[in-house]
């Protein structure tokens, strides 16, 4: 091989390397740009045209059935929906249950018998699980809606009067972009999922697609799939094993933040607490406190009160046969060490998101 040929090949190699570096940096910049919107205090945007909400809900009753009343996240939403309902004249009642489908069925029967106008299934009850009851309620003139359950990519059950999906895919993208930016595009990731939970699929799809686009050098070293009932017994030991087998893992992503309570002890035992980044979603207060003490790096949160306002808004629009928003009108907000103090000490469910939505919705509804 002549000197000229060697020089030419070397030049091409340098160009290719420079090109790859340039592409990596472009991905990091793109990820940074997409994250920016979630790092500022959430701003209210109108979910539709202004309307007279009091006229729409006059003498109407709504029965809210949560996936389980033991879930403080859902209980918090319904408590706030009840407060918003009192303000506008909508009677909101919770169907208390322990997560058993037979209890959900009883809730449907109660709503039909007691003359409710709408049944709202919150976060986790698939209408397919209670299909005969959805049909019976619809036949009896009771509207059935879901909120905080489907991803916009899902095809909702056709019997539903309306549905308010959540951008789980969008959450996956936020997690991917945060990982890209905070590891300079070279993350080695342990991803903890519960594939039995329907929103997991679009969330993981969003994560993987965004990672592929913006972070070609990032790698999901291992996906750990743990059923919800086994979080307590499986997550800690699994994370420990993965960290032992793959010492170069530098990011752990438990996609639902209640998984973190089992990730943190795994990091502590393996001596990696504070060295491995943890990014997650849900904004649960005790996990926000983990950010304060440095155990968790970031948490994507959403305001329960904002969800309550948004759900009541869509329900009233449905009752008045107005166009329904395409998805839950609630922005996501990234908490990290720089802003976690906004959530309070100890952190609270509804603190740190601002209150622009209160006056926003009240103006939209003709109350101000």
């Amino acid at each position: 091989m002549t000197l000229k040929k060697v020089s030419t090949i070397g030049a091409f190699a340098l160009l290719a390397t420079a090109g790859a570096v340039h592409a990596d940096q472009a991905g990091i910049d793109r990820a940074q740009e997409r994250l920016a919107v979630y790092s500022n205090e959430p701003v209210f945007t109108s979910p539709g045209e202004p309307f007279d909400i009091k006229a729409c809900v006059a003498d109407k009753k709504m029965l809210s059935i949560p996936n389980s009343s033991a879930n403080p996240f859902l209980k918090g939403i319904i408590d706030r929906m009840r407060a918003v309902g009192e303000d506008i004249g909508l009677e909101v009642t919770e169907w208390e249950n322990q997560g058993q489908p037979s209890q959900w069925v009883q809730g449907f029967d109660f709503a039909v018998r007691d003359g409710y106008d709408v049944i709202n299934l919150i976060s986790g009850i698939s209408p397919d699980t209670v299909l005969p009851q959805v049909q019976a309620a619809t036949d009896a003139g009771v509207k059935v809606t879901t909120s905080h359950f489907y991803d916009p990519s899902f095809e909702p059950n056709e019997l539903l009067s309306s549905t308010l999906p959540v951008g789980f895919n969008e959450i996956g993208k936020i997690l991917a972009n945060w990982t890209t930016v905070n590891t300079d595009g070279k993350a080695k990731i342990a991803l903890i999922v519960s594939r039995e939970v329907p929103p997991t699929i679009p969330l993981v799809d969003g994560f993987m697609s965004e990672l592929a686009e913006n972070c070609p050098d990032c790698e999901v070293v291992q996906e750990i799939n743990v059923g919800v009932a086994e979080w307590g017994t499986k997550i800690q030991s699994s994370v420990q094993s993965v960290l032992q087998a793959n010492p170069d893992v530098d990011v752990v992503i438990p996609i639902y933040d209640s998984m973190s309570q089992f990730v943190v002890p795994a990091l502590r035992l393996t001596g990696k607490l504070g060295k491995v980044k943890v990014a997650t979603f849900n904004g649960t207060p005790f996990v926000l406190d983990y950010i304060t003490d440095g155990s968790v790096s970031m948490n994507i949160g959403e305001s329960l009160d904002w969800i309550a306002y948004s759900t009541v808004d869509a329900t009233a629009r449905d009752l008045c046969d107005l166009p329904i928003p395409e998805k839950l009108n609630v922005p996501f907000f990234i908490f990290d060490k720089d802003n976690v103090a906004l959530a309070g000490s100890p952190a609270q469910f509804d603190t740190g998101y601002g209150d622009s939505y209160v006056s926003g919705f009240r103006t939209l509804w003709g109350l101000e």
Binding site: A70, N71, P72, K75, Q222, I224, N225, V226, G227, A229, E230, W231, G232, T233, K234, Q236, S237, S238, Q240, S241, V242, Q244, A245, N246, P247, S258, Q261, F262, V264, P265, A266, R268, L269, T270, T284, P285, F286, V287, D289, Y290, D293, P346
Partner: protein, 329 residues
């Protein structure tokens, strides 16, 4: 005695020795298997140190089970007692600001109270232990949900975390040594004290024990209270390991702990619930689960491993013993 009888006796004796140490041999083979597959990541001291520490609460829970089992009673409420104890520590320490030592004392006392409550219904009202402890599991689960608002409580006093997993001896966090201490105490009591012998007699035959002057009811009360206190100690250890108190996850430790208790009764002292055997069983199952996870095998396989190992071990043990009756249910 004929030669053939002597040969048969020697064979039986060898089989008994084999039976006593079979699980330990299989455990060693399991370690060898994973070590060959993953020489750098599995076969290193750090991995075993973490394994020993993280299964310490499970080991204590399995020990809590074998005490009443030896006396012939089931305690299905140990998982709920663990949860009650860890959540009491969380609520009292984080929400009410009580000193951590006082919280631990209250949690252990609550475990004793649970044991006495069980004893009242099992021994005084003569209700089967399965029914009573199944009922109190649900009762305690409800109380825990009420007192925690169904929320995980983070921010438990750092001194508990430091006392459980903060320090290490030979690289192994303290929690392992607490479990070892409990094993040694139970081993000594079961094997070398009249109390342990009486407990065994009560479990083998209550009427015979009573006719021999053993205070059967007192022994059963003591076993149930011990179970409650040990399960509570497991809860304290669990809270220290997690650094938080979770109102749900402790219940899931019940079946693995029972699996370890029964698997443990096939080794060291086959046919009897014994503390050393239980410890071996906990870490045998833990080794299998850790190795499988490190290989990237789906987690449902670990359930198959837990259940399969238990059934296989108990069956082989029974076949080795010529299907004779044991005190293991």
């Amino acid at each position: 005695m004929t030669k053939s009888t002597e040969t048969a006796g020697a064979t039986t004796s060898y089989l008994r020795i084999f039976e006593r140490f079979a699980l330990i041999v299989v455990w060693a083979l399991l370690i060898l298997f994973f070590s060959v597959l993953m020489p750098s990541s599995f076969f290193n001291w750090g991995n075993f140190a973490i394994l020993f520490a993280s299964y310490a609460p499970a080991a204590l829970l399995a020990l809590a089970i074998i005490v009443p089992l030896t006396a012939g009673d089931y305690d299905l409420a140990v998982g709920a007692t663990l949860t009650l104890s860890s959540c009491l520590v969380g609520v009292l320490n984080v929400w009410m600001g009580l000193p951590i030592v006082l919280c631990i004392v209250i949690a252990l006392s609550a475990g004793a109270a649970v044991g006495l409550f069980h004893a009242l219904f099992i021994i005084y009202f003569r209700i089967p232990s399965l029914v009573v402890t199944l009922g109190t599991t649900s009762l305690m689960t409800g109380i825990v949900q009420w007192m925690t608002n169904s929320s995980t409580i983070g921010g438990i006093d750092n001194s508990l975390i430091m006392a459980v997993v903060g320090g290490r001896i030979f690289g192994i966090p303290y929690s392992f040594y607490y479990a070892i201490a409990a094993v040694l105490v139970l081993w000594y009591v079961f094997e070398f004290t009249p109390l342990g012998r009486r407990l065994l007699f009560v479990g083998r035959g209550r009427e015979v024990a009573r006719l021999n002057g053993v205070s059967v009811d007192k022994m059963r009360v003591g076993a149930l209270v011990s179970s409650g206190v040990i399960a509570s100690a497991a809860g304290v250890l669990y809270a220290g390991t997690l650094g938080s108190a979770d109102p749900y996850s402790g219940l899931n430790y019940l079946l693995p702990a029972f699996a370890a208790a029964f698997l443990g009764s096939t080794t060291i002292l086959p046919g009897r619930f014994n503390a050393l055997g239980t410890l071996v069983a906990v870490y045998f199952l833990g080794t299998g689960i850790t190795g499988l996870t490190m290989l990237g095998i789906p987690l449902w396989v670990t359930n198959v491993f837990n259940g399969g190992a238990l059934i296989a071990a108990v069956t082989i043990s029974q076949l080795t013993r010529g299907r004779e009756a044991t005190d293991i249910g």
